[in-house]
Symmetry: C2
Subunit: 557 residues, 2 copies
C-alpha cells in the first residue's frame, strides 16, 4: 500500500478545550505520528462533580506508542498544555516548544515529578524541527498569550498549516504581530498549502476582530474616572492585557499590585523569558492596603468567577488584607466563557452588596477576543489558499459552520470530531477510521476514565441521596431483624411525619423476621430485597428513590 497522510483529533474537535491532535504519515496502520498539544478542560458540577481536570483519553496513542515521534505545543494556555505533566509518561517522546511556552511546560513536568528535560526549546521559523517524516516550524501568530504559534508541518504529501489559536492582530501590545507578508511566503513556498487545520472558536462572530492596542485609551479613560480603589481582572496568561491595565494605572499615577498566584507566575515567566519588558513597578499587598485608596490599582485573578480566586475573595470580603469598599471600582477586562455566567453574576452581586461599582465588557470597550472572527478566518482562507480545510478548536456547530464557509469557497472541507481518522493524502479529505477516544479525569491525585462510573455514582447521590443499610446474619444463618439504616442527603421525615430511616428499619425487620433461608443465604439476593424495600419506603415517604448500599455482615460460625 502507498503511504498516506492522516489527521486524527483526540480532543478539541467537537468541543472547546482539551486540545490534542495527531498527524501521521506512512504506510496505512504504520504511520509515524506527531502529537500537537495536550490540553485540559475544566469540570463542572452538573456533569463532572468533584473532578479537577479533564483531558483526552490517549489510549490510542499508548497502543501506538512506538510510532510516535514527538509532541509539539503551540502555546501555553491550559487547554493546550495543561495535560502535559499528567499524560506525558504514557507517551514518552520529546516535547517541542518555544521559550515562554517551554518554560511553563517544564514547570508542568516538574509539578508531576517528571524530568523537565523532555521539553526542548526552539526558535521560530526558519528553525526546522525534524520528527520522522515531518519537518515542523513554529510560526509566530497573534493570540491572547505570548509566543502563540501556528505550525507549518511539511510532509512528503505536502504542507499542513496547523493554525493553533490565533487572531489577526497587527498591534498586539506584547509579542509578535500577525505578519501577512510572511504568511504570503508560507502560502507560496513548498508547493503551497495542502491542508489548513484551523481554529473555529469565533466563527459565529461576524464583525472583524479588534486589536489589543485599541484598549489602551478606553482603559486609561476608565482608570482616570474612578475616584477610589480600582481592581481589574483578566486571564493571568493574557500578558498583553496585564501590561495594558498596568500602564493605564501607572499613567494615572496609581501603584500596581498583582494579586493571585498565577498572575505573579505568568508575569515572572514573561519577564524572565524577555517577553515582557517595561512593566510598571508593582507593590506588595501590604503596601497596597496602606496606601490612599485612589493611589492603588489591583490586577487580580478570577475573571471567570472561580470561587477560590482573588476576585471571588475580594467580593466576599478581603484578600491578603485588602478590603474593597463602597465607592471602589471593579473592572472585568474579560468575557464570560459559556457556563461560567452564574459564577460571575454571583460576584457582581456580592460587589453590589458592598457598594463597589462593577464595570464589564458588555459593550466591548474593555476586552477583545484572542480568536479570529469569521471575516478574519475568511481572510486566512484567501491568503493561504489551502486545498483542504479542517476546522478544529470548536464545538460541533462551530466546525460545521466553518466547513460550510470553506465549501462555499470551493475548498474541500470536512467536519471531523474526536476519534475521526481523516485521510488527507488526496484532493479531498475522507474519514477512514473511528478510533477509540474519550476522556480522562483527574480526581484528587488519580487519573480515572470518564466511563468508570465514579462520576455517574456521584451525580446519582447528588440527585437522589444515599441510603446505607447494614444487615447482620448470625452464625446459624439467621438474620438479626434489626437492620441499621442511615440516610445521607435525604429529608429526615416524609409523608407520615416520622423518621424515614425508622420506617425503613421497621419494614426491613418485618421482612427479615420472615425471610426464607434461600434469600438470606445469598448475598446478592438479600441485597436486592433490602435495596428494593429501602427504595419503596423512601419513595412512598418522600417521593424519591435513593442510591442504596447494603452491607451484609455474616458472623463466622
Amino acid at each position: 500500500m502507498s503511504d498516506r497522510l492522516i489527521y486524527l483529533p483526540l480532543g478539541g474537535a467537537g468541543e472547546i478545550g482539551m486540545n490534542a491532535y495527531v498527524y501521521g504519515y506512512g504506510e496505512p496502520g504504520r504511520e509515524r505520528l506527531i502529537v500537537v498539544d495536550l490540553g485540559v478542560t475544566f469540570g463542572d458540577m452538573e456533569t463532572t462533580p468533584g473532578i479537577d481536570l479533564i483531558m483526552a483519553d490517549v489510549a490510542w496513542l499508548q497502543a501506538n506508542k512506538d510510532r510516535i515521534e514527538a509532541i509539539f505545543i503551540t502555546h501555553a494556555h491550559e487547554d493546550h498544555v495543561g495535560a502535559l505533566g499528567l499524560l506525558w509518561d504514557r507517551i514518552g517522546v520529546p516535547v517541542h516548544c518555544r521559550k515562554f511556552t517551554g518554560t511553563l511546560a517544564r514547570m508542568k513536568m516538574e509539578e508531576r515529578g517528571l524530568s523537565p528535560d523532555a521539553v526542548r526549546i526552539h526558535e521560530p521559523r526558519p528553525e526546522v524541527i525534524e520528527a520522522g517524516p515531518f519537518k515542523v516550524q513554529f510560526v509566530p501568530i497573534s493570540h491572547s498569550i505570548p509566543e502563540s504559534s501556528a505550525l507549518i508541518i511539511d510532509t512528503p504529501a505536502g504542507r499542513i498549516v496547523h493554525s493553533g489559536d490565533f487572531k489577526l492582530d497587527g498591534t498586539p501590545v506584547v509579542g509578535e504581530p500577525f505578519d501577512p507578508i510572511m504568511w504570503h511566503e508560507i502560502a507560496r513556498e513548498s508547493g503551497g498549502v495542502k491542508v489548513l487545520t484551523c481554529d473555529s472558536t469565533n466563527v459565529f462572530s461576524l464583525h472583524p476582530g479588534r486589536s489589543e492596542a485599541l484598549l489602551a485609551n478606553p482603559l486609561l479613560d476608565f482608570v482616570m474616572a474612578q475616584p477610589n480603589m480600582i481592581a481589574a481582572t483578566t486571564f493571568a496568561s493574557n500578558i498583553a492585557r496585564l501590561k495594558s491595565l498596568a500602564e493605564a494605572g501607572a499613567a494615572a499615577g496609581r501603584k500596581i499590585c498583582l494579586l493571585g498566584r498565577s498572575m505573579r507566575r505568568m508575569t515572572q515567566v514573561a519577564q524572565e523569558t524577555g517577553i515582557l519588558t517595561n512593566f510598571p513597578a508593582t507593590i506588595s499587598p501590604e503596601e497596597a492596603a496602606n496606601l490612599p485608596r485612589n493611589e492603588v490599582m489591583l490586577i487580580v485573578t478570577g475573571s471567570q468567577g472561580e470561587r477560590r480566586a482573588a476576585t471571588a475573595q475580594l467580593a466576599r470580603g478581603s484578600y491578603l488584607g485588602i478590603r474593597m469598599k463602597e465607592g471602589d471600582s471593579f473592572l472585568f477586562s474579560s468575557s464570560v466563557i459559556p457556563g461560567n455566567e452564574r459564577g460571575v453574576i454571583r460576584i457582581m452581586n456580592q460587589f453590589s452588596e458592598i457598594g463597589v461599582d462593577v464595570f464589564d465588557n458588555n459593550d466591548g470597550t474593555f476586552h477583545v477576543s484572542g480568536h479570529a472572527n469569521r471575516p478574519d478566518l475568511e481572510a486566512v482562507h484567501d491568503l493561504l489558499k489551502p486545498q483542504i480545510l479542517i476546522p478544529m478548536h470548536g464545538e460541533h456547530m462551530h466546525l460545521r459552520e466553518h466547513a460550510l464557509i470553506g465549501e462555499k469557497k470551493g475548498i474541500a472541507s470536512i467536519v471531523a470530531t474526536n476519534g475521526n481518522m481523516v485521510d488527507i493524502t488526496g484532493d479531498k479529505p475522507r474519514i477512514v477510521d473511528e478510533t477509540d477516544h474519550g476522556r480522562i479525569y483527574l480526581d484528587g491525585s488519580v487519573l480515572i476514565g470518564a466511563m468508570d462510573g465514579v462520576v455517574r455514582d456521584r451525580i446519582r447521590m447528588a440527585l437522589n441521596g444515599s441510603a446505607l443499610v447494614s444487615v447482620i446474619v448470625d452464625e446459624s444463618d439467621n438474620p438479626f431483624p434489626d437492620a441499621w439504616v442511615e440516610l445521607m442527603g435525604l429529608p429526615e421525615k416524609g409523608r407520615s411525619n416520622t423518621p424515614v430511616a425508622q420506617q425503613i428499619e421497621s419494614e426491613l425487620a418485618e421482612f427479615l423476621e420472615r425471610a426464607d433461608p434461600k434469600t438470606v443465604g445469598d448475598d446478592q439476593k438479600l441485597e436486592e430485597v433490602v435495596r428494593k424495600i429501602t427504595r419503596q419506603v423512601t419513595m412512598e415517604e418522600i417521593g424519591k428513590k435513593p442510591e442504596v448500599t447494603a452491607i451484609i455482615s455474616r458472623l463466622a460460625p
Copy 2:
C-alpha cells in the same frame, strides 16, 4: 403608637425568581397584611442538586397567620404563582386573581389536593377588592403572558403601585396594551402615587424596549425562507409569541403542531378564557409526521434547554414519532436565562450533528423581552411621579442600579432585599426590621428547609464521594477486626494500585485489633476514629477526603 405602612419582601428582592411580597398597615407589630405573589424558582446542579422547586420560606407569615387578609397574584408565570399549591395551606386566606391567572392558579391548587375555591376571580380596574385596610385593583399591563397586572393598593397612608412584571407595549399581539392615559389617571387620582414598587429585571438594558408586534414580519420572512421542516421554541406561557409563530407558519401555508404538555395546556386555558382567539388550526403529532416536511411547523417547549422537554428530545432523536433531519430548521424565539447557557448550547450542537440549521436571537430579530428596559422604567417613574421608589424583581445589582436612577431623579429610593421590613409611612423609606427569611425546597414530595443540611450533604457526596463503614462489636464489647468498607463515587484504586476499600479495611483491622475498651465502648468515639482512618487512607491513596458514614452494630449480650 400611630399606624404605619410597611413593605416586606420574602422572595424576589435580591434574586430573580420566587416572588413573594408583603404589605402591611396598622399598629406596629399588629399590621394587617396582604401577600403579593407566591412564586418558585428552579434549582440547579451546582447549588441545589436533586431539588425540584425552590420557594420563599413563609415562616414569618405562618407566625402571623391571623393578621393576613388575602393573597393577590399578579400573573401566571411560575415565579409568581408556582408556590401557591405548595404553600397555601400554611397561610390559608383567599387568593385573588384575574381570570386567566386564576384558572391556572386553581389547577395548581387541585394538583396539590387543595380546593380551588380559595381562588377568586376578578375583573380589572375599576373593580376594587377590599382586604382589611387595603383597597386593591388589578390594572392591565403588558408583559410576556396574558392578563399580567400591576396592582393599585390604596391604603390609609396613600397609594401604592406594585408594578408586577411589565413592559411598555402598545401592540402586544395578545392581551391588553399598555395604556398611558389610564396610568396618567392613576398617577393623579387619590392624591397621587406614594410608593412605586417596581420591576428591575432589565435595568441594565439601555435601549427602549421593543413591541411584540415587531416580530411578525421577521418571523414570516424566516418561515418563508426555510426549505424543509421548521420547529420553533419559546416559553409556553408566551401566548402572544405562540400566536405570532403560528400565524407566520399558517401564512406560509404550513400546518401547525404544538408539542409539549405545557404548550397545549397554556393554549387551551387561553382559548377557554377567551384571551386567545383566531389561533390557526393545529394538527396532531401523527399528522405532522406524515405530511411533507415543508408543510409542517412545530411549536415546541424547552427553550431553556430543559432535558426532558420537546426541544431536547427532538435534538436527541425524536419526539412523539417526529424526527428532525438534515436540512430542517430550528428557531429559538427566546433568550437564554443566565445559567441555562450550557444546556441550550448542548442542544444546538446536537442539532448540528443531525444537520439541522439552528437560528437564535443573537441579533434580536426573533425575540423581544417581557420586561421594561431602563428608558421604559424612567418613563414610568416620570409618569407616576412616586414619592418613594422600591425596586423589586431583581438581583442585588439590579435593585441597586434602579435605586440609583430613582435617587438621581430626586425620588426617595431604597434597596430592600428579602427579609428587610421597610416602613413606608413617611416621606422616606426606612428599614425597621430584619425578619426571618430563607428558602424552602421541594424535594421529591417533601418540603424541606434550605438550611436542613440535606443539600449540603448531597453536594459533599458529589464532590468528595462517600465511604460506608460497618463495624460490629460482639456481646463482650470486643470489635470484630474485619470491618466492611464500601466506596461510592470514588476511584477504585489509587497510588498503591490495590483497591482503596481493601486498604481501608486493613488499616481499620489494625486499629480494631488493638483498640482500647473506652473507645470501643463509646459509639461516638469509635465512629470518630473510624472516620479519621478512612479519610486518611483515602487521602493518601487518591488525594480526596470522602464523606464517611460509620455504622456500629453491637450484638446484644
